[in-house]
Symmetry: C2
Subunit: 366 residues, 2 copies
C-alpha cells in the first residue's frame, strides 16, 4: 500500500471515524482505524460494534492495499505533523512508514482481515432530511434519555415514522421529550437508537445538505456526504408514549421562556445546596411565585404570566424544568397543568412541533 | 448591616476573594466570605489560612456591619441575578436578605467574630514591579515546582532579591527554572512562596499597573490596586541553586524554538505510548536528530541547528524539554551541553533573563 494525502484532509477523516472508537474495547483491533487505499481514495473505518463509521477522503494512491493502525497514535501523529503532503507506505509485512517533510514515523500495523466487517445494508429504501433539522431534533430530545441501564430501551431515542412525520421521543420515567418534523414518505417505522450513538451522529451533522437514513431490522444507517454511520438498534418495545401524554387540563400558563428559566435557575440554587432540586410553583392570577428553601436559607422568585383557569400549587425537581426550558427556542411557551399530582406539559406558543412532559414531585402534607 | 451594590461590581469582588477559598476546609467559617460594610465601601475577605485575599468594592452603605456568607451559594446567587442594583440587609441576628428586581433570597450568615483575622503586616517597606512582569515571571518558573510533597520546600518558588535583581527559582530534582528581572531596591531577601498561592496570584495579576510586594518573616503581601493577597512563606532553606548550574560546556547549539518544540512533541508521541517519555538527541554538524521508539513503532525527527563544539548523543524525558520550550518566548534559543550525563542548560539567544536546566536520562549500555 502506498499513497499521498494532504494532512488536513486526512485529519478530518480520522476525526470523523474516531467518534466510533471508544478506546475501551477489549479487542485491540477495535482501537484501530481500517485504512483502505484504492482508486485515488482512502476509505477509513472505525467501529465499536454498536456503532461503526466509514468515511472517504481523496488521496493519490500508488499501490492499493489495506492496513489497521492504532487510532490514538495515528491520529496524534497526523495531528502534529506540518500541514503538507503526507506519504504513507507499507515497508514490510507489519510496518508502515509515514513521511512528512523532515519527520519519519514507522508504525506497526494490525491485520485488516481481523477488522469486523460492516453490516451489509441495502441502501435502496431511504428517506432524506436536512442535517440541520435532524441535529436540532436530536438536541431537543436526547437530554431526556435514561442514564441508568435498568431499562436499556430507555437509554435510546425512539425514531418513529408515521403519517408523513418523523417523531423523536425520549423518556426516563420522570420526563418525556417529543419532537416532530414533516417527512415526505409513506413508510411506517419504529426503531430505538442508542443515545450515545446519536450524540456522535449529532457531532458529525452539519448545518447544510441532507442526511439520508435507511433502516434494517437491526441497524440504522445515516449517509452524510462521504460518511456512513451505522448503529445498532436497541432490542425491545418502546413505551407507548402517547398514552402517557394527557389531553385535558385545568389551567394553561403562558410565560416568557428566558425570564422563567432564570427565575427557576436562581430558585434552584437553594435546592441544590441540599441535593433535592425541589422548587415550589404558586400559580395565581398574573404571577408565578417560585420558592425553595434549605438549611442555608430561602428564595422567592416572581415571574409574570398569563393564566387561563384555576390557581395551583405544584412542586418539581427544578433540573427537569431547566433542561426543557434551555432546550426550547421560542420566546414564549405554554405550560398545561391539571393538578398538583398530574404531569405538566410544556410546549411552544407558536409552532406545534414539540411536547415536553415533566412529572411533579408529590409533597407530603404537613 | 445594609447596603446597595451593583451586581457586576460585587461579582468581580467575590470572584477575586474566592481564589483563596478551597471549599475543602474542615472549618465551616473558611468556606465563607467575610463582608464588612463601612464608609461606602465593602471589604470582602476569603481565606484558607495559607492564603488570604482581601478586596474592596464600592457600595452605598446605609448601615455599617459585618457578616460571613457561604462563598459558594452567595457567589452563585450574585452571578445569576440580573445586572442591576442588589440590596443586601440583615433582617435578624442570623439572616440576611438579598433583593434584586423580583428576586428575594434569605440567607443564614455566620458570625464574623469567628473569621480568622488577617496577619498584621507593616506595609512601609515594600517594593514595586509591573504586574505584567511578575505574571510572566511566575508563568516562566511555576511549572518546575515539585508536585510531590516529600520535600515541601520544593513545592514553592524562591523569591530572591539581591544585587538589584528579583530572581524567581523553581526546581524539582529533575529540572530547574530561573527567571530574573531588574528591581530598584537595595534590599536582600530570600523567601519561598507556595506554588499554589502563586497560581492564584497569577490569575489576579493584570496587564497594566504595578503590584507592590512586602515581606515579613512569615508572610508575603501582594498589593494589587484594591486587592491584598497574603500568603504564608514556606519554612526551611531552599536549595543553593547556583551550585547546581554549570558554567562550562563542551558544545553549544542554537536552534529555532518552535521548530525544535514541534519535532520533540512529535517524537514524544511514540515515547508516550509506553509512558517513558524517553527521546534521544543526536547532535552532529548542522542537524539534531531526535529519535524515539516503542512497541508501536519508531520515529526520527530532524531539525536544523548551529553547532559549536563536539557532537553528542544524549537522552531526555521529553516532557521536561517540552515544558521549557513552551514557556520560552524568543524565536531562537541556545542549549549548552557538556556530556551525555551532565545537565543541559537552555536559555534565550538574545535576552539574558532566564536559565532552564534539565537533567538527561542516563542510558544503559547495550
Amino acid at each position: 500500500m502506498k499513497f499521498v494525502c494532504n494532512r488536513s484532509t486526512l485529519q478530518n477523516g480520522i476525526s470523523v471515524v474516531q467518534k466510533s472508537i471508544t478506546g475501551k474495547s477489549s479487542l485491540p483491533i477495535l482501537n484501530g482505524i481500517l485504512i483502505t487505499a484504492a482508486e485515488n481514495e482512502l476509505t477509513l473505518v472505525g467501529s465499536d460494534i454498536d456503532l461503526s463509521i466509514e468515511t472517504k477522503v481523496n488521496a493519490e494512491v500508488y499501490e492499493e492495499g489495506s492496513i489497521v493502525l492504532d487510532s490514538k497514535i495515528f491520529g496524534e501523529i497526523i495531528r502534529k505533523l506540518p500541514n503538507d503532503n503526507i506519504h504513507i507506505n507499507t515497508i514490510n509485512s507489519n510496518s508502515v512508514e509515514i513521511l512528512c517533510q523532515k519527520s519519519r514515523f514507522t508504525l506497526i500495523y494490525m491485520d485488516p482481515l481481523d477488522f469486523p466487517p460492516l453490516p451489509n445494508i441495502n441502501e435502496n429504501d431511504m428517506f432524506s432530511i436536512p442535517q440541520k433539522i435532524l441535529k436540532n431534533m436530536i438536541k431537543s430530545t436526547i437530554f431526556a434519555v435514561a442514564v441508568d441501564e435498568t431499562r436499556p430501551i430507555l437509554t435510546g431515542v425512539l425514531f418513529e415514522i408515521k403519517n408523513k412525520k418523523l417523531n423523536l421521543v425520549a423518556l426516563d420515567g420522570y420526563r418525556l421529550a417529543l419532537k416532530s418534523e414533516n417527512l415526505d414518505t409513506d413508510n411506517t417505522i419504529s426503531a430505538v437508537i442508542p443515545g450515545k450513538t446519536l450524540n456522535e451522529v449529532s457531532k458529525i451533522l452539519e448545518e447544510k445538505d441532507n442526511v439520508k437514513i435507511t433502516f434494517t431490522p437491526n441497524h440504522i444507517l445515516f449517509n452524510i456526504n462521504k460518511t456512513k454511520i451505522i448503529s445498532r438498534i436497541l432490542e425491545g418495545e418502546f413505551i407507548k408514549y402517547n398514552s402517557i401524554i394527557p389531553n385535558e387540563f385545568n389551567l394553561k400558563v403562558t410565560a416568557k421562556r428566558i425570564e422563567l428559566l432564570n427565575s427557576i435557575e436562581r430558585a434552584s440554587l437553594m435546592a441544590q445546596a441540599e441535593n433535592t432540586n425541589l422548587i415550589k410553583l404558586n400559580i395565581e392570577d398574573e404571577n408565578m411565585i417560585i420558592t425553595s428553601n434549605s438549611q442555608l436559607g430561602m428564595v422567592r422568585e416572581e415571574t409574570s404570566i398569563i393564566l387561563q383557569g384555576e390557581s395551583l400549587e405544584i412542586a418539581f425537581n427544578s433540573k427537569y424544568l431547566i433542561d426543557v426550558l434551555k432546550t426550547m427556542e421560542e420566546d414564549e411557551i405554554v405550560m398545561d397543568f391539571s393538578s398538583s399530582i398530574s404531569p405538566c406539559i410544556i410546549r411552544n406558543k407558536e409552532i406545534d412541533n414539540c411536547i415536553y412532559l415533566v412529572l411533579p414531585v408529590r409533597l407530603s402534607k404537613k
